[in-house]
């Protein structure tokens, strides 16, 4: 697993972890992010149980486990939240935040531990990292893709963590930062057309992101958008017609013979 500091200013930094070459091929690659602020850390979308040993080992290069105060899960998917119980079991002081909509579902990943989840209300939340760290904002991103979904904005670094928005299924040797946006589209397009269910929700999120005007958008899968590519990415999203399943309707129609067989 690789890791790299993507932002550093004084006592505030962002670290990305990902491109795990040792994971099994069938396990989708994910990016995990840590914000370290004034010696206290927040982990964003900590990843699935399958990659937990590598993520933990890689994180310990940068922070002590005791320094991790907050974990944020943008939504309920297993590649985001199936390791949460392992983190909580490791350090019981960690506060885990996840969309209120999913607390009952994510609790199924409890693995027999004392599993307490802090629900994020639909309108979002202002969240301090530990006692001494800076404040970040949990920005609504509902239906992008999950029905209860949040992004994280860190005003100090001017970075927007977008979760699955901007996700790309890239080869393992792809650059950490998007260099040529036009050629990067092919890694994102199918993902967004299939995973994003609502064009309205996506447009709203883009409006929110434009108002925030971040310098960097960091997704949970794929490469990072910086500077001009942030605007290109938002423009691309604004013109993307997602949530149109009719193109798959023919393929998903149940053949009459099959249907009759099922009915028997």
């Amino acid at each position: 697993m690789k890791s790299e500091i993507i932002f550093e200013s004084g006592d505030h930094k962002w670290i990305v972890l990902g491109r795990d070459a040792s994971k099994k091929d069938e396990v989708i690659d994910t990016n995990e992010y840590i914000i370290v602020s004034n010696g206290e850390a927040m982990l964003l979308d900590p990843g699935g149980i399958e990659i937990f040993p590598n993520v933990l080992s890689e994180i310990t290069k940068y922070v002590s486990i005791e320094q991790i105060k907050v974990i944020f899960a943008s939504h309920q998917d297993p590649d985001v939240s199936s390791s949460l119980a392992m983190w909580l079991d490791l350090a019981k002081h960690i506060k885990i935040y996840c969309p209120w909509l999913w607390t009952g579902f994510i609790s199924h990943f409890g693995m027999g531990t004392d599993f307490v989840l802090n629900p994020i209300p639909d309108e979002g939340l202002e969240l301090k990292i530990g006692d001494k760290g800076s404040t970040v904002f949990l920005v609504p991103a509902h239906f992008c893709h999950s029905s209860g979904n949040f992004s994280v904005y860190d005003p100090k670094a001017n970075i927007l963590f977008s979760g699955d928005i901007g996700a790309a299924l890239i080869p393992n040797d792809a650059p950490l930062y998007v260099d040529d946006f036009a050629s990067h589209i092919k890694y994102m397009e199918k993902f967004h057309l299939r995973w994003m269910p609502s064009v309205g929700a996506l447009r709203q999120w883009v409006r929110r992101a434009r108002n925030i005007n971040p310098n960097m958008i960091v997704p949970q899968h794929g490469s990072i958008f910086v500077g001009e590519n942030v605007h290109k990415f938002l423009d691309w999203l604004d013109n993307l017609e997602v949530g149109k399943w009719e193109m798959g309707a023919e393929a998903s129609d149940i053949n009459k013979a099959v249907w009759m067989k099922w009915k028997k």
Partner: protein, 260 residues
């Protein structure tokens, strides 16, 4: 995942499978018991048709036989309860041990990274990271003298968590071992009942040999009783074998955690 962790994980999964096997066999015993009862009732009906003093002795023997499933019912209930508890206990232990394995794997990756950085000839596989004693002194090992405080602190923390999980798992596995020996005792009782059923069958055969007619019907009845007792024995033997295997694996798993 290192070889020792892979083996540890596969051993625990094996015990889990054995636990489920024992539970399924225990549940299947109820079916066997019912079959035995139906046969005995059939024997009473046939003996009743004879209507002589010989018929009366066969009715008595078949009556004993039909009581047998009733007598062993509480034993079967107990066995099912014990094996259900066992499967539940093994599931809880398995989940706990899976957590232990994930932390151990992380520890192993971190140790290898530090050892490579410090150009040490040792590797994580040279440490018994499944062992509580080894975990207790791990961060103070001479090999890590030059490691940064951050690394030592993190190793210490993961090691401490694993010591806690390991101690908790030991309690759960101890309880599982206790349930295994309780199940084994119940199975021995049931085997005795199988022996009694066979004995009754032999007596029925002897009594029926004096009959001028209906002898063949009783021969078939006794054959069926023997078949059922064989099924019972096969089932119980399979459970005993599973219990022995599970006990052996659990002891070796606990040894890996505890031995010096």
């Amino acid at each position: 995942m290192s070889q020792q962790l892979t083996k540890y994980r596969s051993d625990i999964s094996q015990v889990f499978k054995l636990g489920v096997n024992i539970l399924n066999n225990a549940r299947a015993l109820k079916g066997i018991s019912l079959d035995l009862k139906l046969l005995a009732v059939n024997g009473i009906v046939q003996a009743g048709k004879i209507g002589s003093s010989q018929g009366q002795s066969l009715i008595t023997l078949s009556g004993f036989l039909s009581d047998l499933p009733i007598q062993i019912a509480p034993e079967l209930e107990d066995l099912e309860r014990i094996t259900t508890d066992l499967a539940r206990q093994l599931t809880a232990s398995l989940i706990s041990i899976i957590r232990f394995i994930f932390y151990s794997n992380s520890l192993s990756i971190s140790l290898d990274r530090l050892l490579i950085q410090s150009k040490s000839s040792f590797r994580a596989s040279d440490f018994k990271i499944l062992n509580i004693q080894e975990l207790t002194k791990l961060s103070k090992n001479d090999v890590f003298l030059k490691a940064q405080d951050l690394d030592k602190e993190n190793i210490e923390q993961i090691a401490q968590v694993n010591i806690g999980i390991s101690e908790n798992s030991r309690l759960m596995l101890d309880k599982a071992l206790d349930l295994l020996s309780k199940a084994a005792a119940k199975i021995e009782n049931l085997k005795r009942n199988g022996f009694i059923a066979n004995y009754m069958g032999s007596n029925i055969l002897i009594e029926s040999s004096y009959l001028t007619s209906d002898q063949q019907s009783f021969q078939a009845l006794v054959n069926n009783i023997r078949n059922i007792v064989n099924r019972l024995d096969t089932n119980l033997d399979s459970m005993i074998n599973s219990i022995k295997d599970a006990e052996n694996i659990l002891r070796s798993v606990m040894m890996a955690n505890q031995s010096n």
